[in-house]
């Protein structure tokens, strides 16, 4: 199936000469949740702004469902709902008015039933007649999501959707996002919360200094870069690893009381059972053990770390 968004050789140079994006190539698949990870200033928001028509590209092109975003901006933009990072809301309008305004702006006929459903899904129905200025930050964030959903977009951009949102509300938003995905909406989200990408995304892209440095299925990424580690706390200090255990490539901690074993979670045999047997044969006893898995966060940090 053709990608729903296709970014080709896209670059953005700001008036100051700052190169925010450098030759980006990226395809977003239909119906997926794509998480774009990157440190501050990596170019995430610039990329989204260009796709949505808020900033002009310097070089390259973007097509949305086959429509070039410059030449055929109407069909391209009509498909997209955008929730920007900053809380940009009106102040004196009511929730109902501002969400209805968004729908009109995108050229859709009035549909109070749809607006009602969106507001109810986002737990904003009770606040529909309140002025936006009276709402809390979390509610304003949801109003912005409601505005983006008011015109029934096929693609939803969420730029840091859960920044400054409490845990319970964040879970609620994830639920909304999943429901949308189930309804066939393609979702692109940027986030600082790696657990969010880990929890939600089908694929993950990492952007750093204006360049896409990696795009991978989440599961593949986790297994490709994901190592597991077994740490054994020894009952008695040892000075060296017995030669019989050499095939396991164990690491002995400096204190001599911990043995560390790295293994691949993707492999069929982890080697743990035989390791434990060989340890007993070598007369090494341990008092405790723990395993740990490298998280997406570790992977991410190792990718963007400046060498």
């Amino acid at each position: 199936m053709s990608p729903i968004i296709s970014v080709t050789n896209l670059s953005k140079v700001y008036g100051s000469g700052f190169r925010a994006l450098n030759n980006i190539n990226l395809d977003i698949r239909r119906g997926e949740i794509f998480a774009l990870l990157g440190p501050n200033g990596a170019g995430k928001t610039t990329l989204i702004s260009i796709i949505c028509g808020i900033a002009n590209p310097s070089e390259g092109s973007v097509s949305v469902n086959g429509h070039d975003i410059i030449r055929s901006y109407r069909p391209a933009r009509a498909m997209i709902g955008l929730v920007p990072q900053e809380l940009h809301t009106d102040s004196f309008e009511t929730v109902w008015a501002t969400v209805s305004f968004s729908r009109g702006l995108f050229g859709k006929p009035k549909n109070p039933a749809h607006i009602e459903k969106v507001l109810k899904d986002l737990s904003l129905w009770e606040k529909k007649d309140s002025k936006i200025i009276t709402l809390s930050g979390g509610m304003k964030r949801r109003v912005m999501i409601a505005k983006a959903l008011s015109h029934e977009p096929q693609i939803l951009f969420l730029d840091e959707p859960t920044a400054g949102v409490d845990v319970e509300l964040r879970k609620g938003m994830w639920e909304v996002v999943r429901t949308l995905r189930d309804a066939g909406v393609t979702i692109i989200l940027t986030t600082h919360y790696i657990e969010e990408a880990e929890e939600m995304a089908d694929r993950i892209g990492v952007i750093n200094k204006g360049e896409i440095i990696l795009v991978e299925d989440k599961a593949k990424l986790m297994s490709k870069l994901g190592r597991k580690q077994l740490k054994l706390h020894l009952a008695h200090k040892i000075d060296a690893i017995p030669p019989a255990l050499a095939p396991y490539h164990l690491v002995l901690s400096e204190s001599g009381t911990e043995l560390i074993y790295d293994y691949d979670t993707a492999g069929e045999r982890t080697g743990i059972t035989s390791l434990l047997g060989d340890l007993r044969n070598a007369g090494i006893r341990f008092s405790d053990l723990e395993t740990s898995q490298s998280s997406l966060e570790d992977i991410f940090v190792s990718l963007v770390r400046t060498p």
């Binding site: 901006y73 109407r74 997209i80 955008l82 920007p84 702006l105």
Partner: protein, 253 residues
């Protein structure tokens, strides 16, 4: 054409007008009434007729124009500056609408508001001085043309401004002096010859002259020239707006 988007922007802007009814409509009416009390009744009673009409009647077109000019600029510049300032402009820029539609929405609402205001002021003036409009169609034509032109001008200022000071600067330092010196309160023919020549460089002279002609057939310059200059200024504003959107000036960079 995305008519629904134009409608949405237009109604959104008009809703802002009704919400701020006091400062939008009431305060210009009050200040205009004060002008009539001072210039029309108090001082005007000691001034002889100007070109055959009483001074109070003479200043009516100028006062209406004064309000229409300043309100058009204020409405339109604020209308587009505010979304830029609070960031809600993102939604306008990301919507499937053309620049033309954005302008029709914003400038249309600003012009509507100042036309309504102009008519209210005219009605208020009728309470103070006798009014006779010789050419009502021309009167409305000049009113609409001026409201649209200066709303466009305000739109440009609103996009150019990157702070509230700049938003106030052009109306305060340029438009108000031009309006006062443009013959709101006198005929430019009353000026000494040198100043008369300078006054003819002021575009507002042509607007007020044409507008006043539609009331009493008194004009500083010919009506054709007035109309031509107004249309000329409208064209300049449209070209500037076209350039702004083509380059994304202060909007997309």
């Amino acid at each position: 054409m995305n008519y629904r988007a134009i409608r949405a922007i237009y109604l959104f802007e008009m809703a802002r007008t009704w919400r701020t009814l006091l400062q939008s409509i009431v305060s210009p009416v009050v200040s205009t009434s004060l002008y009539f009390v001072v210039f029309g009744a108090a001082i005007g009673s000691r001034i002889t007729e100007v070109e055959g009409v009483s001074y109070g009647t003479f200043i009516v077109p100028g006062l209406v124009m004064l309000s229409v000019l300043t309100q058009s600029i204020a409405n339109a510049s604020f209308g587009i500056y505010f979304p830029k300032f609070v960031g809600t402009i993102y939604e306008i820029l990301s919507a499937p609408i053309s620049y033309f539609e954005i302008i029709v929405g914003y400038v249309g609402a600003a012009a509507t508001k100042s036309i309504i205001l102009g008519l209210i002021i005219l009605a208020t003036a009728g309470l103070f001085v006798p009014l006779h409009i010789n050419h009502p169609i021309w009167m409305l034509t000049f009113l609409v043309l001026t409201a649209v032109t200066f709303s466009l001008f305000g739109f440009i200022i609103g996009i150019w401004a990157d702070g509230f000071e700049k938003l106030q600067m052009i109306p305060m330092l340029v438009v108000t002096p031009l309006t006062f010196l443009g013959g709101s309160f006198y005929s430019v023919n009353m000026l000494p010859p040198a100043w008369h020549t300078i006054a003819l460089l002021n575009p507002v002279v042509y607007l007020i002259s044409g507008f006043r002609w539609s009331f009493s057939e008194i004009a500083d310059v010919s009506v054709g020239l007035s109309l031509g200059m107004t249309l000329g200024f409208l064209t300049i504003c449209m070209a500037t707006v076209w350039w702004i959107f083509r380059t994304g000036y202060r909007l997309k960079n």
